[in-house]
Symmetry: D2
Subunit: 430 residues, 4 copies
């Protein structure tokens, strides 16, 4: 049967790559994946899965960092203009994107779940012809949004494996749940999926990521290590505007408070026990040039090797924000808008993966471990499965990278999609 | 005749205050005063002035800091929705707002010019009922824009004096040019008016400002001193984005460069010879929370008691920007997007004003001088007139202030409009 | 008699210049003027003044910013080595420097007081031959201390006028008090002199400064304006040291707190109503390179056109210090170690000085007013005299300057000393 | 024979602990260990070693970061006062401290070298009685210097093993070189020892450290990992002083440049591939409170998991320094005053140590590896030995710690000294 898998993958290569390119074109940021959700839904129709969308996918309260109603409405308008039917859009309104696809084989067997994240990033994609998506006509047509982390590939892998399971349905047993998850960026969506029960009773949980660092296509890492715990924070400083020429002393300068915070946040001492990270990703302050700025807004995140290091960073970060506000006598409000855990691939999978994928002609080398040094809210799912006695893994699918993740020239080798589908298919069949 | 003036002012009180409130409602930022220009044009029609609008008002190249075409287009859309006729709008397209109204008396006499600035600020106006415009229903209906510096009042004074001149036309001699100038905020519009020749051959130039600091209505300052020279600078830092967790060292952090610049810009030593000011009014950086920010944009301004102090501030400011860029290995581009000169009211007017206004019952006290401590691009006009041998003045029309200039609760006492019209009328008649 | 004055000054020119050079050589910082005090004492002996030294000069508690006992002891050691007799030194121990010299004429008449400050600055003096004191052999022989503000000249003027008064004693009436005041730098000594009663009952108070800005010798400014109010603050941040490699997260970084404070202190918005200043003059932090710094110490000062602007600066400064401490979770202690008031020369002297000095051949031009833009604790004396009904003045004695005040190449033209002595002598005789 | 070792250690326990306490009392910073060197020399006399001191120990040019002549002279004065004989002191003059002790057994055999660092830190030691050295009377009597990193213990271990070798001499073969190295702190002394040839031809190299993190006495780590590469930098900013009140704009503020540098240095992004560190350990700027600071001096260090990460940090650090200097138009001079390499314990020793020490009753547990996360210039020696084909190790001798390394309350359990001597003795005998 293993030969059949690879043959099947080869026959479906064009579809898989096309799906990726079409989704690359409709890049959408977290909780705004209206076009993407509709695209996935359409491709899954008729494959024999029960499809869940809208409020069924995520628990409303457990979502982190949902955009404002105004922003959501603008994205909904865009989706409407770009052809998402009103009725379907209505079910997703207010950021209820994503699809959960469940395949019941009607035969007893374990419950296997897989997760594919589907959101893009707020980056304006490269326009030069050196960038393949630009050159080959599938550059994002949604301004200011880009698949710069490979989630378009992840979604295409998901569609691939869904099609494969559909083909094979008669020979499978147990239950298969494919989760097309919104808002991984910022660690915002996974917890809400878990809270709606989709991981309850799952025995085997499969997930992974394309790229991370440049490796030849055909390399498979069976377990990413060092998935960092993370906290996402929004901070708003509110001071008082004043005429910058006449009465500068009457202003309470929120921008200076924020600038002082940013510099000092980046200077938090690293933790001696394990990696730590801090990034301020957005800074928006002031209204006009000759007005002492009365408002400033920051988006930041902390990370740590484990929750200990991350808790240290979070505590220090809040101290910096508070001190900066005090300096300039401005008010500070902050909110935790996302959190991610640390997690590890189970030994079960570290042993299983090399064996199961041995016969795949798409895979040249299986590596034991590679540090991710990033965060992933898939850890909520992994932990949930593990706490119930199931096994979870997080693989890395090797590919050369045109530029680093989150860079406007990010791109990967589409052949890596075939590796991923082949790997998952072999694991399922095993 | 002097008694007639005050009587005329009283009879027109309701009109003058209504004009102010109607223009307060349609607050528009510099070069985007499409509705305001149309409003002024309509009110001036039929008064006997030759009206100049569109490209006749300002020299295209001499305008500083014109918004992007995209922004202008959005404002043009708004104006269209709010009732500005397409044909009229067409003449103003791309930021050619403002009106120059010329009254030829057909009798020999001096050429008198007056300037009224008409633009608002990018501030969201106070909504609470303690704020009179909100309570009385004339709060700005244009989101994020507000008359927080009294230019609505200036424009109403201009309409008042235009009506007065019209009434009196038969008894006047010489030429009267009323300039309703766009984009005073940021010192962006005046120079372009001068370059189109409107101040050539002017003998007497009158201008002034409401408020500045709280004074009783009825107080008139005959010459503002300390109008600061100023330079407006836009700065853009361009670095490189990177994944903030995995490869922070591969990013070139433009936001940190900008934050370092802002803190150190505000720390430029004051000049020992005279006042200096620096304000960074806008800070916009980064795209997403987990992306090392690759772009940052600042809007700033320097000011100085004279061009010597301002030149010092400008030079130091550019040094801070350059050093910050070097620190973070990011590229720096900056542009000078506005400049204002220092200027002084002529002795001619310091002597003339107390006498000419003596009989006005609206004026209780004439003060010799009061420092402005702010900048005003009217100085381009004053200097131009003075260099040609004419005389120029810049008065202050006293009023209590509900809050400082450029504050969202800014408001003045509308009776001050009557004082201003009376003062100008007395000076014209004299 | 006026001719006699100038003749007398000419005859004593060599002495006056020699005194200045000898005191330049023994430059000593505030409260450590042991050699200088002894020098002045020796020169005053035998002139007929009652000389007060040691604890009689200043009230112990009212002295600001006295150096630590350890530092004082080091300076006392130095003075001993440099020839100050033990017995005389003993009376000055613990920073009780300075001399008050009182001349009773035994005839009824007004009480006239003059003040001459005698302290130097913690600056290493220029060594190059372009610097006249270095070239002519009177460079400071006390390492790290230099008369870079002209107080050596002030003290020489004081000795000059003392000698003059002594010569003229028979023809004078009333009382003359000459105060050779320690620790003007940092506004630390004057208040303590006032509190010991030396200004009680004074009718006329004369004081002044050499230089301020370059002017020709022979220029006399009868009243300095804009003497800034000031506050001197010491701040200590105490955190926790840690190994910078192994456990950086366990440190509490006092240096980072201080650096954040310094940047943000310098960024306090200027006051719109009048000049403000802030300077951090000392920063001392950390122990070793590989130790997270647990201690940091700052010396700073604020200034303002009046006590209103200075109070604003002081309040804001303390807020910045507090916020910085909070940011880094370090303790903050601060102390007010000096304060100076704003003050003005009385109209009495503004009128008197031009007349009284008219016949002086040393004086070419008397200017009415010139801004000082600096602080001076002589204001404690001026205010005290004025509050009791007396009159006070603060003159400026013009001289070209080789470099600005407080610069290591500071130097003045010694002929200005003759102008000053002549001016004071004319005022006394008048 | 193994039983004999432990017996010998027990018999010498009092001596070993006394040596440690006596050296704790005479704590001296790097290149100033005059008293300590003399103490060690005296204890080694008569044990049969050839003792090398003075310029024989270190190559003059290869020493990093030697204090100024003035500082060295002060330390030499102190040593003289504290009883180091003039003749002996003369040989060490100008920072030539340390002892190399060589034992020739006259029998063929391998060359074994051991290194013990002997310098202390510029920290004022805790005075409270909760701190054992203070309570038990061996607190540092040298002001501002303290053994806060356990090198007093290292030196005592060295004396212990020297005595042991001396006792056992008849039964040993080969050559034994014991290096009592100056100036480990700051990575300043080891390279100069290597350059004088002391590690040439060495077959086995033993070294180690007490503590690092709290562990029970009896724990031995056979190979520290993660010894960070490091660079030590001194930076001097030279601007221009000015009177802070009158002419602040004429100053070039070196302190602000340094403060900006410090904040931005601490904000260098961590390297994604491995640990990085940066610390500014000293900040010294300005002369007097009312003088715009013309000078600022920083001592800093970078570290990285390997020379790649350290090189990244060093390059970024220099960029920050340059940018800060440009911002304030001040001159920057910097010097590399110390460098340390990364290194690893050889597999030979990782295997050997557990076996060799198995029978020691002082050792309860041998751990394979533990990260040091710090820097150590012993790496110059390890690398030199390894490059010549020899084997090197760096052990950790477990002890509970009263406070972290480089903290004023740092202290360890003296029983750990016995563990270390026992471990080294077993390895030697093996």
């Amino acid at each position: 049967m293993r030969n059949e898998i690879d043959q099947w993958v080869k026959q479906n290569e064009l579809d898989i790559k096309t799906w990726r390119q079409e989704m690359h074109k409709i890049a959408e940021v977290g909780f705004c994946e209206y076009e993407t959700t509709y695209y996935i839904f359409r491709k899954l129709e008729g494959l024999g899965f029960t499809l869940h969308t809208g409020r069924a996918v995520m628990n409303e309260e457990a979502r982190f960092g949902v955009p404002s109603e105004k922003e959501l409405a603008q994205h909904e308008d865009r989706a409407l203009k770009n052809g998402v039917p009103t009725a379907f859009l209505e079910t997703m309104k207010n950021g209820f994107t994503g699809v959960v696809a469940v395949l019941e084989t009607e035969k007893d067997g374990p419950h296997t779940a897989m997760r594919f994240d589907i959101d893009a990033l707020p980056i304006e994609e490269e326009v030069s012809h050196a960038h393949i998506p630009a050159n080959n006509g599938f550059r994002s047509r949604n301004d200011g949004m880009m698949h710069a982390c490979g989630h378009d590939g992840h979604a295409a892998i998901g569609l691939g494996i869904a099609t494969f399971l559909s083909t094979l349905k008669e020979r499978l047993s147990g239950t298969y749940t494919l989760i097309f998850q919104p808002a991984e960026e910022g660690s915002r969506g996974a917890k809400a999926v878990v809270e709606n029960g989709w991981l309850n009773g799952v025995d085997f949980f499969l997930s992974g990521h394309l790229g991370i660092r440049s490796q030849p296509v055909g390399t498979l890492v069976s377990g990413a290590t060092n998935i960092l715990a993370t906290t996402k924070i929004d901070a708003r400083f509110t001071g008082k505007t004043a005429h910058a020429g006449m009465e500068p002393h009457k202003g309470k300068n929120a921008m200076l408070a924020a600038a002082a915070a940013v510099l000092n946040l980046h200077g938090i001492a690293p933790h001696g026990e394990g990696e730590t990270r801090l990034n301020v990703g957005r800074f928006d302050a002031g209204s006009g040039r000759n007005i002492v700025p009365g408002e400033a807004f920051l988006q930041l995140e902390t990370r740590g090797k484990s929750s200990i290091e991350n808790a240290y960073m979070k505590e220090e970060a809040i101290r910096r924000l508070e001190g900066a506000a005090h300096m300039y006598d401005v008010a500070l409000e902050y909110a935790i808008v996302g959190e991610g855990l640390a997690a590890e691939t189970d030994k079960y999978f570290l042993d299983k993966i090399p064996n199961a994928t041995q016969s795949s002609q798409f895979i040249n080398e299986v590596k034991d471990r590679m540090p991710l040094n990033g965060s992933e809210d898939v850890t909520y799912m992994m932990r949930h499965v593990q706490e119930q006695g199931g096994s979870a893994c997080y693989m890395i699918f090797g590919t050369p990278l045109a530029a680093g993740h989150h860079h406007k020239q990010f791109d990967f080798d589409e052949d890596a999609l075939l590796v991923a589908v082949s790997a998952l298919a072999h694991l399922v069949v095993e």
